[in-house]
């Protein structure tokens, strides 16, 4: 706590002086330019920006030219896939293997969001194989194949199936993640899949924070023929999930899919809330068998931080990688796998419910390679 007091003291002191500035600002008027700038000249006067907003000057709209220049959308899929494929083609097309080969491979992997550290490690292994003679120095195709195999091997043992409890109570799958990654949609699609395979499913609308998250889940429940337990807006998510487990137990439903509000892993209190949700979810009769971190394929290196923080807080058992049907390659899961050892369980490759599929390492890597 000492640290916090120190910080507060600093903050208050700074703000009081900021307050001084604010209160004298009106008096000082135009003379304020350059105030407080650590490097005068690099910071503009905010006053001018603000006044420009308050007194709009009519400006000719560039709309008309823009319309003429507006091109028709081309097939992005081909171009996007070709982006990385181009690198690999270049590697393949050369007679031998040289520094340029490794540079191209490095760029391709980095563009796929694999991250600098993991890329360096993977390519280092590949170099070692070259030096030890395990790979021919004149066969780029074999080199690419070896790289692909190495990447697939990183996911060794991932089966892409979700675990059910073997006891009497309902199995609980908890879904966590930052805002906007597709938790609710993933739950909806899974609910559909599980009811179709004959399970009785209860959805727990644990996202009581985002406006209309409950409604969104409810429309999925209707579609899937699943039951849904909701709390009032702003209710304690733990209580909603507790109720859902109780409800499932009394109805002898086999599976509870527990939604939670999206939260940034940096928010201490929200992560604490999630810890409590987990404690409640694993309380009998519920059997918590999966805590799934939903991750957006467009996420960059912050995905590793997310995975680490959520695992620390609630013991993530696997990852659901959504939105892989876009141009993003989702290579960050390689970094997550190599740093944290978390398995990838499901992959979302489209809007339709059937597009949520079990993770297949070989397929994933081949998509990565264009």
């Amino acid at each position: 706590m000492t640290l916090v007091i120190v910080l507060i003291v600093v903050a208050v002191a700074l703000l009081v002086s900021a307050g001084l500035v604010v209160s004298t600002r009106s008096r000082l008027g135009a003379a304020l330019e350059g105030r407080g700038a650590p490097q005068p000249g690099t910071l503009p006067s905010t006053a001018s920006t603000i006044s420009a907003q308050a007194e709009p000057e009519p400006e000719p709209s560039p709309r008309f030219e823009a319309e003429a220049a507006r091109p028709v959308m081309r097939d992005r899929l081909g171009r996007a896939r070709g982006l990385l494929a181009g690198y690999f083609d270049q590697v393949r097309g050369r007679k031998g293997i040289d520094d340029a080969t490794f540079e191209e491979l490095e760029e391709a992997l980095i563009l796929a969001d694999v991250g600098v550290a993991t890329t360096t490690r993977v390519l280092g292994d590949l170099r070692d194989k070259l030096h030890s003679g395990a790979l021919s120095a004149t066969d780029p195709t074999a080199l690419l194949q070896a790289l692909q195999d190495d990447l697939v091997a990183m996911f060794d043992g991932d089966v892409g199936s979700l675990a059910y409890g073997d006891g009497d109570g309902p199995t609980v799958w908890l879904f966590v993640g930052v805002n906007g990654v597709g938790k609710t949609t993933t739950i909806g699609k899974l609910a559909l899949r599980e009811t179709e395979s004959g399970r009785s499913v209860v959805l727990a609308a644990g996202d009581t924070f985002r406006a209309a998250a409950g409604e969104q889940l409810e429309s999925w429940a209707e579609r899937a023929g699943a039951r849904i337990v909701r709390g009032s807006d702003g209710a304690d998510p733990s209580s909603v999930i507790f109720d859902a487990v109780q409800h499932a137990a009394s109805r002898r439903a086999g599976l509870v899919l527990a939604d939670t509000a999206g939260r940034l892993h940096t928010k201490v209190n929200l992560m604490d809330e999630l810890r409590k949700v987990r404690r409640v979810a694993e309380r009998p009769p519920g059997q918590l068998t999966e805590v799934l971190l939903v991750l957006d394929a467009t996420t960059g290196q912050n995905g590793v931080v997310q995975a680490r923080q959520f695992t620390e807080a609630v013991g993530v058992t696997g990852i659901v990688l959504t939105k892989l049907d876009g141009t993003a390659k989702g290579g960050v899961v390689l970094a997550i796998r190599s740093e944290l050892g978390l398995p990838i369980k499901l992959v979302g490759v489209g809007e339709a419910p059937a597009d949520l599929v079990p993770f297949d390492p070989a397929e994933f890597v081949s998509v990565l390679f264009g």
Binding site: L14, T24, M73, V178, G326
Partner: protein
């Protein structure tokens, strides 16, 4: 969000500080480090390459100033290049001469369009406009419902109907005209850049609307793909600006650099939290400074200006001028501080905060503890903490549910702070004393901020080091 990037540069430049001159070899090493730092921050590879080229050219060229150390030289160059890449200057909204001014929001699924729409509407209302929201996301279940709830929260009407996006925006626009609203904000469904059908749809929506501004909403956590997505949206919609969301996380935010570079339009707004109030105009130069660890004093002052109660602060300043700063004043300030959001967010704006402090886990609930301790004191104890003997301290600890150690801690730190405030007091008097002389006041004022900037971090943080 850009903290980690700052740390990387810190490490590089600390090493650089030991060198006398900046040779080709040093430049190459620094560039390599900058490259890794930028790539790890998710800046797109191509953008990194351009940036490094520009930095290299300027570092090895003759442009170097004689009076700077090598580290300062590189920092200056990197800072300027980042500022240029980030956009040179902030977006200025100019309103349509024939209202309403139409704003269209587009982006990937889950980037935060619906929340950003509501935040933008609130922002326009703060500018004295009369915004109107149109919910054209008929794709995601309950998206319109979400917009309605948010609209009700900020007191802005929401229009939508279950037809198709193009008719929704047509009728919505007509309705806005009928109601005499001067700003219309249109929320659209999230779509992938390669989804031809949906991209075509959003283009038809745009053609029906003739928006004055089209904003691309992009998640600060986005990786390398940001470039391709932004390119595709720009081709389809002719973007006017970018709204960067989820900036309150710890993503290094390289996507901001990438998107800016590709689209060539300014980053207009930052969405910095879960509350509708967490939304601000983007200032590239400030961000560049922040990347380089110079802090963001201007944003801090603006935030204080927005959230601080002038009356309360005025009273505190008066007491400061009188040379008295009591625990009551501290409590007032603390409560004001709470309004400004989590401490960690504030810290990231402050310059000169060492890495260890920035990385420390700050539990905002400790603020509550401190509040409880002060509230458990009698008025006398609050104005004169010297009366606090052992038994009073024990009583306070019991009353606030804390321990005497925590009470002692607080008192010790408060004493430090009083000393600091005594330093600020005379300056406040000085400023209050000569309102009529702009040039001198301006000078004094600049000092003031400097005092607030340097003094607390060097004095107040002393004990932790």
């Amino acid at each position: 969000m850009f903290d980690t990037l700052t740390d990387r540069f810190d490490a590089i430049f600390t090493r650089l500080r030991g060198r006398g001159r900046l040779g080709d070899a040093e430049v190459a090493e620094v560039l390599r480090e900058i490259r890794v730092a930028l790539l790890e921050a998710d800046v797109n590879l191509v953008v990194v390459r351009d940036l490094l080229e520009a930095i290299r050219a300027r570092c090895t060229g003759a442009e170097l100033a004689k009076h700077l150390t090598p580290a300062q030289q590189v920092i200056k160059v990197v800072n300027e290049e980042l500022t240029v890449t980030l956009g040179g200057e902030a977006l200025k909204i100019s309103y349509a001469s024939k209202p309403p001014t139409v704003v269209l929001l587009a982006g990937l699924q889950g980037s935060g369009k619906t929340t950003a729409s509501a935040k933008l509407a609130r922002w326009f209302r703060q500018q004295g406009r009369h915004p109107y929201l149109i919910g054209a996301d008929l794709q995601r279940p309950a998206a319109v419902e979400q917009l309605r709830v948010l609209g009700a929260e900020i007191g802005v009407d929401v229009f939508s109907e279950p037809t198709d996006p193009v008719s929704v925006v047509r009728s919505g626009l007509a309705e806005a005209r009928r109601l005499g609203r001067d700003v219309v904000i249109v929320d659209t469904a999230g779509r992938l850049a390669i989804d031809r059908v949906l991209m075509d749809e959003v283009r038809r929506v745009s053609e029906a609307l003739h928006p004055d501004y089209t904003f691309f909403v992009v998640d600060a956590m986005t990786g390398q793909d940001a470039v391709q997505t932004a390119e595709a949206f720009h081709q389809a919609l002719q973007l006017d600006g970018i709204i960067l969301t989820k900036v309150d996380g710890d993503a290094r935010g390289g996507a901001a650099l990438s998107v800016k570079q590709v689209v060539g339009r300014p980053i207009a707004f930052l969405s910095t939290g879960e509350r509708v109030a967490d939304f601000e105009i983007f200032h590239p130069d400030r961000l560049a400074s922040r990347i380089l660890g110079m802090g963001d004093v201007l944003s801090l002052i603006e935030k204080a200006e927005r959230e601080y109660d002038e009356e309360v602060t005025g009273q505190t300043i008066e007491r400061l001028q009188a040379g008295t700063f009591t625990l009551d004043d501290f409590l007032d300030q603390l409560r004001q501080l709470k309004k400004m959001g989590p401490l960690t967010g504030l810290l990231s704006l402050m310059p000169g905060v060492p890495k260890e402090v920035r990385d420390a886990k700050v539990d905002d609930r400790d603020v509550g503890k401190i509040e409880a301790i002060i509230c458990s004191m009698t008025p006398l104890e609050r104005t004169d903490p010297t009366v606090l003997d052992g038994s009073r301290r024990l009583r306070i600890a019991h009353g606030s549910g804390t321990s005497t150690t925590e009470v002692n801690n607080l008192l010790r730190q408060f004493k430090e702070m009083q000393k600091m405030m005594r330093g600020i007091g005379p300056m406040a008097k000085l400023m209050g004393g000569r309102p009529g002389n702009p040039s001198k006041s301006s000078k004094g004022n600049r000092k003031k901020v400097k005092g607030g900037r340097v003094t607390p971090s060097s004095r107040g943080l002393g004990p932790t080091r």
